[in-house]
Protein backbone atom coordinates (compact mmCIF):
# COMPACT_ATOMS: atom_id res chain seq x y z
CA UNK A 1 0.00 0.00 0.00
CA UNK A 2 1.01 3.60 -0.29
CA UNK A 3 2.67 5.87 2.25
CA UNK A 4 0.27 6.92 5.00
CA UNK A 5 1.26 10.59 4.87
CA UNK A 6 -0.66 11.10 1.64
CA UNK A 7 -3.77 11.44 3.83
CA UNK A 8 -4.29 15.13 4.49
CA UNK A 9 -2.24 16.15 1.47
CA UNK A 10 -3.72 19.15 -0.36
CA UNK A 11 -3.13 19.64 -4.08
CA UNK A 12 -2.68 22.81 -6.15
CA UNK A 13 -5.73 24.84 -7.18
CA UNK A 14 -7.11 24.10 -10.62
CA UNK A 15 -7.07 26.68 -13.41
CA UNK A 16 -10.14 28.95 -13.60
CA UNK A 17 -13.23 27.33 -15.10
CA UNK A 18 -15.70 29.77 -16.58
CA UNK A 19 -19.26 28.50 -16.12
CA UNK A 20 -21.06 29.11 -19.40
CA UNK A 21 -24.75 29.35 -20.18
CA UNK A 22 -24.45 26.92 -23.06
CA UNK A 23 -22.64 24.38 -20.89
CA UNK A 24 -25.39 24.56 -18.28
CA UNK A 25 -27.99 24.09 -21.01
CA UNK A 26 -26.04 21.17 -22.49
CA UNK A 27 -25.63 19.48 -19.11
CA UNK A 28 -29.31 19.91 -18.26
CA UNK A 29 -30.28 18.48 -21.65
CA UNK A 30 -27.95 15.52 -21.14
CA UNK A 31 -29.75 14.62 -17.92
CA UNK A 32 -33.12 15.18 -19.58
CA UNK A 33 -34.05 18.18 -17.43
CA UNK A 34 -36.10 20.99 -18.97
CA UNK A 35 -36.29 23.05 -15.76
CA UNK A 36 -36.45 26.67 -17.01
CA UNK A 37 -33.90 27.80 -14.38
CA UNK A 38 -31.28 25.89 -16.39
CA UNK A 39 -32.29 27.13 -19.83
CA UNK A 40 -34.05 30.50 -19.65
CA UNK A 41 -32.24 33.48 -18.12
CA UNK A 42 -35.48 35.41 -17.53
CA UNK A 43 -36.98 32.43 -15.72
CA UNK A 44 -33.89 32.15 -13.51
CA UNK A 45 -34.05 35.89 -12.73
CA UNK A 46 -37.75 35.64 -11.83
CA UNK A 47 -36.66 33.13 -9.17
CA UNK A 48 -34.25 35.72 -7.80
CA UNK A 49 -31.07 34.47 -9.47
CA UNK A 50 -28.50 36.53 -11.31
CA UNK A 51 -28.27 34.16 -14.29
CA UNK A 52 -28.87 30.53 -15.20
CA UNK A 53 -28.55 28.16 -12.24
CA UNK A 54 -26.32 25.13 -12.64
CA UNK A 55 -27.90 21.76 -11.75
CA UNK A 56 -26.94 20.34 -8.34
CA UNK A 57 -24.42 17.87 -9.79
CA UNK A 58 -22.95 20.22 -12.43
CA UNK A 59 -20.03 20.98 -10.14
CA UNK A 60 -18.63 17.54 -10.93
CA UNK A 61 -17.20 19.08 -14.10
CA UNK A 62 -14.84 21.25 -12.04
CA UNK A 63 -14.31 19.04 -9.01
CA UNK A 64 -13.20 15.92 -10.90
CA UNK A 65 -10.03 17.47 -12.37
CA UNK A 66 -9.05 18.45 -8.83
CA UNK A 67 -9.89 15.11 -7.19
CA UNK A 68 -8.34 13.07 -10.00
CA UNK A 69 -5.09 14.98 -9.52
CA UNK A 70 -5.12 13.71 -5.97
CA UNK A 71 -6.05 10.15 -6.94
CA UNK A 72 -3.28 10.00 -9.57
CA UNK A 73 -0.62 11.03 -7.06
CA UNK A 74 1.99 8.26 -7.41
CA UNK A 75 2.03 7.95 -3.63
CA UNK A 76 -1.62 6.86 -3.79
CA UNK A 77 -0.56 4.07 -6.16
CA UNK A 78 -4.02 3.51 -7.62
CA UNK A 79 -4.78 1.16 -10.55
CA UNK A 80 -6.96 3.64 -12.41
CA UNK A 81 -8.08 1.08 -15.00
CA UNK A 82 -10.23 -0.62 -12.33
CA UNK A 83 -11.66 2.54 -10.74
CA UNK A 84 -15.38 3.04 -10.19
CA UNK A 85 -17.09 5.85 -8.34
CA UNK A 86 -18.00 4.87 -4.78
CA UNK A 87 -19.88 7.86 -3.45
CA UNK A 88 -20.35 11.57 -4.05
CA UNK A 89 -21.77 14.46 -2.04
CA UNK A 90 -22.07 18.18 -2.69
CA UNK A 91 -22.64 20.92 -0.13
CA UNK A 92 -23.37 24.43 -1.38
CA UNK A 93 -23.15 27.81 0.35
CA UNK A 94 -24.75 29.35 -2.71
CA UNK A 95 -25.81 28.10 -6.15
CA UNK A 96 -23.40 27.97 -9.05
CA UNK A 97 -24.38 30.43 -11.78
CA UNK A 98 -23.51 31.02 -15.42
CA UNK A 99 -20.72 33.59 -15.34
CA UNK A 100 -19.02 32.17 -12.25
CA UNK A 101 -15.27 31.77 -12.55
CA UNK A 102 -14.41 28.78 -10.37
CA UNK A 103 -11.26 27.18 -8.99
CA UNK A 104 -11.09 23.95 -7.01
CA UNK A 105 -8.68 22.49 -4.52
CA UNK A 106 -8.64 18.85 -3.43
CA UNK A 107 -7.42 17.22 -0.23
CA UNK A 108 -7.15 13.49 0.41
CA UNK A 109 -9.37 12.73 3.40
CA UNK A 110 -8.70 8.99 3.66
CA UNK A 111 -7.12 6.02 1.92
CA UNK A 112 -8.26 2.50 2.82
CA UNK A 113 -7.95 -1.03 1.53
CA UNK A 114 -10.60 -3.71 2.07
CA UNK A 115 -10.67 -7.18 0.50
CA UNK A 116 -8.21 -6.09 -2.16
CA UNK A 117 -10.14 -2.97 -3.19
CA UNK A 118 -8.63 0.48 -2.56
CA UNK A 119 -10.88 3.37 -1.43
CA UNK A 120 -9.69 6.97 -1.88
CA UNK A 121 -11.82 9.73 -0.34
CA UNK A 122 -11.26 13.36 -1.22
CA UNK A 123 -12.74 16.71 -0.28
CA UNK A 124 -12.68 19.29 -3.07
CA UNK A 125 -13.42 22.88 -2.11
CA UNK A 126 -14.99 25.07 -4.79
CA UNK A 127 -14.14 28.78 -4.82
CA UNK A 128 -14.70 31.70 -7.11
CA UNK A 129 -11.53 33.20 -8.58
CA UNK A 130 -11.91 35.97 -6.00
CA UNK A 131 -11.81 33.50 -3.13
CA UNK A 132 -15.49 33.19 -2.20
CA UNK A 133 -16.20 29.61 -1.18
CA UNK A 134 -19.17 28.34 -3.16
CA UNK A 135 -19.24 24.82 -1.75
CA UNK A 136 -17.46 21.50 -1.33
CA UNK A 137 -17.58 18.09 -2.95
CA UNK A 138 -16.81 14.86 -1.13
CA UNK A 139 -16.03 11.79 -3.22
CA UNK A 140 -14.83 8.24 -2.80
CA UNK A 141 -13.42 6.34 -5.72
CA UNK A 142 -12.79 2.61 -5.56
CA UNK A 143 -10.16 0.62 -7.43
CA UNK A 144 -11.86 -2.77 -7.52
CA UNK A 145 -10.08 -5.94 -6.55
CA UNK A 146 -9.50 -8.25 -9.52
CA UNK A 147 -12.10 -11.01 -9.94
CA UNK A 148 -11.03 -14.33 -8.47
CA UNK A 149 -10.47 -17.14 -10.97
CA UNK A 150 -13.33 -19.66 -10.68
Amino acid sequence: MSTPDVVGRTYPKTPVYEVGREKIREFATAIGDTNPAYHDVEAARKLGHRDLVAPPTFAIIVTVPASVTAALDPDVNLDYSRVVHGDQRFEYRRPIYAGDRLVCQATIDSLRERAGSVFVSTRTDIFTEDGEQVGSAYATIVSRAPQKES
Binding site: T29, A30, N35, A37, L47, T57, V64, V84, P95
Partner: protein, 141 residues
Protein backbone atom coordinates in the same frame (compact mmCIF):
# COMPACT_ATOMS: atom_id res chain seq x y z
CA UNK B 1 -34.20 31.43 -4.10
CA UNK B 2 -37.86 30.55 -4.43
CA UNK B 3 -38.93 27.01 -3.69
CA UNK B 4 -42.58 26.42 -4.58
CA UNK B 5 -42.97 24.08 -1.61
CA UNK B 6 -43.56 25.57 1.81
CA UNK B 7 -41.90 24.09 4.90
CA UNK B 8 -45.27 24.32 6.62
CA UNK B 9 -46.92 22.12 4.00
CA UNK B 10 -44.65 19.10 4.39
CA UNK B 11 -44.14 16.58 7.14
CA UNK B 12 -41.91 13.58 7.73
CA UNK B 13 -43.24 10.95 5.37
CA UNK B 14 -44.43 13.38 2.68
CA UNK B 15 -43.78 11.61 -0.62
CA UNK B 16 -42.31 13.29 -3.66
CA UNK B 17 -43.77 12.35 -7.05
CA UNK B 18 -41.88 9.27 -8.24
CA UNK B 19 -40.42 9.12 -11.75
CA UNK B 20 -39.12 6.49 -14.18
CA UNK B 21 -36.28 7.58 -16.48
CA UNK B 22 -35.38 5.57 -19.60
CA UNK B 23 -31.61 5.28 -20.03
CA UNK B 24 -30.18 4.43 -23.45
CA UNK B 25 -26.59 4.36 -24.72
CA UNK B 26 -27.14 7.74 -26.41
CA UNK B 27 -27.90 9.32 -23.03
CA UNK B 28 -24.51 8.16 -21.79
CA UNK B 29 -22.83 9.64 -24.86
CA UNK B 30 -24.53 12.98 -24.23
CA UNK B 31 -23.62 12.87 -20.56
CA UNK B 32 -20.00 12.02 -21.39
CA UNK B 33 -19.81 15.09 -23.60
CA UNK B 34 -21.55 17.32 -21.08
CA UNK B 35 -19.50 16.20 -18.09
CA UNK B 36 -16.14 15.47 -19.65
CA UNK B 37 -16.10 11.87 -18.39
CA UNK B 38 -15.07 9.78 -21.37
CA UNK B 39 -14.30 6.60 -19.42
CA UNK B 40 -14.97 3.82 -21.98
CA UNK B 41 -16.89 1.70 -19.46
CA UNK B 42 -19.75 4.09 -20.23
CA UNK B 43 -19.78 3.62 -24.02
CA UNK B 44 -17.53 0.74 -25.07
CA UNK B 45 -19.00 -2.73 -24.44
CA UNK B 46 -15.77 -4.62 -25.21
CA UNK B 47 -13.82 -2.49 -22.77
CA UNK B 48 -16.49 -2.70 -20.06
CA UNK B 49 -16.46 -6.50 -20.27
CA UNK B 50 -12.66 -6.57 -20.28
CA UNK B 51 -12.68 -5.00 -16.81
CA UNK B 52 -15.24 -7.50 -15.55
CA UNK B 53 -18.35 -5.38 -15.90
CA UNK B 54 -21.44 -7.15 -17.32
CA UNK B 55 -21.94 -4.55 -20.09
CA UNK B 56 -21.73 -0.78 -20.57
CA UNK B 57 -22.78 0.94 -17.34
CA UNK B 58 -24.15 4.43 -16.80
CA UNK B 59 -21.91 7.02 -15.16
CA UNK B 60 -22.71 7.00 -11.47
CA UNK B 61 -22.94 10.78 -11.75
CA UNK B 62 -25.52 10.46 -14.53
CA UNK B 63 -27.66 8.31 -12.25
CA UNK B 64 -27.16 10.77 -9.41
CA UNK B 65 -28.16 13.68 -11.65
CA UNK B 66 -31.28 11.96 -12.96
CA UNK B 67 -32.37 10.86 -9.50
CA UNK B 68 -31.91 14.46 -8.33
CA UNK B 69 -34.57 15.53 -10.82
CA UNK B 70 -37.21 14.04 -8.51
CA UNK B 71 -36.14 16.61 -5.92
CA UNK B 72 -35.71 19.61 -8.24
CA UNK B 73 -38.99 18.90 -10.03
CA UNK B 74 -40.74 18.81 -6.66
CA UNK B 75 -39.20 21.96 -5.24
CA UNK B 76 -39.19 23.97 -8.48
CA UNK B 77 -36.12 26.16 -7.91
CA UNK B 78 -33.11 23.86 -8.24
CA UNK B 79 -31.02 26.25 -6.15
CA UNK B 80 -33.08 25.05 -3.19
CA UNK B 81 -30.98 21.87 -3.17
CA UNK B 82 -28.22 22.89 -0.77
CA UNK B 83 -26.78 19.41 -0.22
CA UNK B 84 -27.01 16.22 -2.22
CA UNK B 85 -25.15 12.97 -1.70
CA UNK B 86 -25.34 9.36 -2.80
CA UNK B 87 -23.49 6.09 -2.60
CA UNK B 88 -23.18 4.15 -5.83
CA UNK B 89 -24.28 0.69 -4.76
CA UNK B 90 -24.83 -1.12 -8.03
CA UNK B 91 -24.19 0.03 -11.60
CA UNK B 92 -27.02 0.82 -13.98
CA UNK B 93 -26.31 -1.65 -16.77
CA UNK B 94 -27.29 -0.21 -20.15
CA UNK B 95 -27.51 -2.86 -22.87
CA UNK B 96 -27.33 -1.76 -26.49
CA UNK B 97 -30.83 -3.11 -27.13
CA UNK B 98 -33.58 -1.95 -24.79
CA UNK B 99 -31.51 0.23 -22.47
CA UNK B 100 -32.44 0.50 -18.79
CA UNK B 101 -35.12 2.21 -16.72
CA UNK B 102 -34.13 4.17 -13.62
CA UNK B 103 -37.01 4.33 -11.12
CA UNK B 104 -36.71 6.97 -8.43
CA UNK B 105 -38.89 7.87 -5.48
CA UNK B 106 -38.35 10.27 -2.62
CA UNK B 107 -39.72 11.00 0.83
CA UNK B 108 -39.20 13.78 3.35
CA UNK B 109 -37.27 12.08 6.15
CA UNK B 110 -36.53 14.95 8.51
CA UNK B 111 -37.54 18.56 9.13
CA UNK B 112 -34.47 20.62 9.99
CA UNK B 113 -33.91 24.16 11.26
CA UNK B 114 -34.04 27.17 8.95
CA UNK B 115 -37.00 25.72 7.01
CA UNK B 116 -34.88 22.99 5.48
CA UNK B 117 -35.83 19.35 5.07
CA UNK B 118 -33.97 16.15 4.27
CA UNK B 119 -35.29 14.05 1.40
CA UNK B 120 -34.33 10.38 1.14
CA UNK B 121 -34.29 8.99 -2.40
CA UNK B 122 -34.63 5.40 -3.55
CA UNK B 123 -33.32 4.53 -7.00
CA UNK B 124 -33.66 1.18 -8.74
CA UNK B 125 -32.88 -0.26 -12.14
CA UNK B 126 -34.74 -3.53 -12.54
CA UNK B 127 -34.12 -5.51 -9.36
CA UNK B 128 -30.99 -3.56 -8.47
CA UNK B 129 -30.89 -0.81 -5.89
CA UNK B 130 -28.45 1.50 -7.65
CA UNK B 131 -28.08 4.31 -5.11
CA UNK B 132 -27.70 4.03 -1.36
CA UNK B 133 -27.89 6.72 1.31
CA UNK B 134 -29.23 9.05 -1.36
CA UNK B 135 -30.15 12.22 0.49
CA UNK B 136 -30.78 15.82 -0.39
CA UNK B 137 -31.12 18.79 1.92
CA UNK B 138 -33.66 21.21 0.50
CA UNK B 139 -34.31 24.85 1.46
CA UNK B 140 -38.06 25.32 1.43
CA UNK B 141 -39.91 28.64 1.64
Amino acid sequence: MAATVSYDDVEVGTELPAQAFPVERVNLVMYAGASGDFNPIHWNERFAKSVDLPDVIAHGMFTMAEAGRVVTDWVGDPAAVVEYGVRFTRPVVVPDVGGATLEVSGVVSEKLDDRRVTVDLTARSGDDKVLGRAKAVVQLT
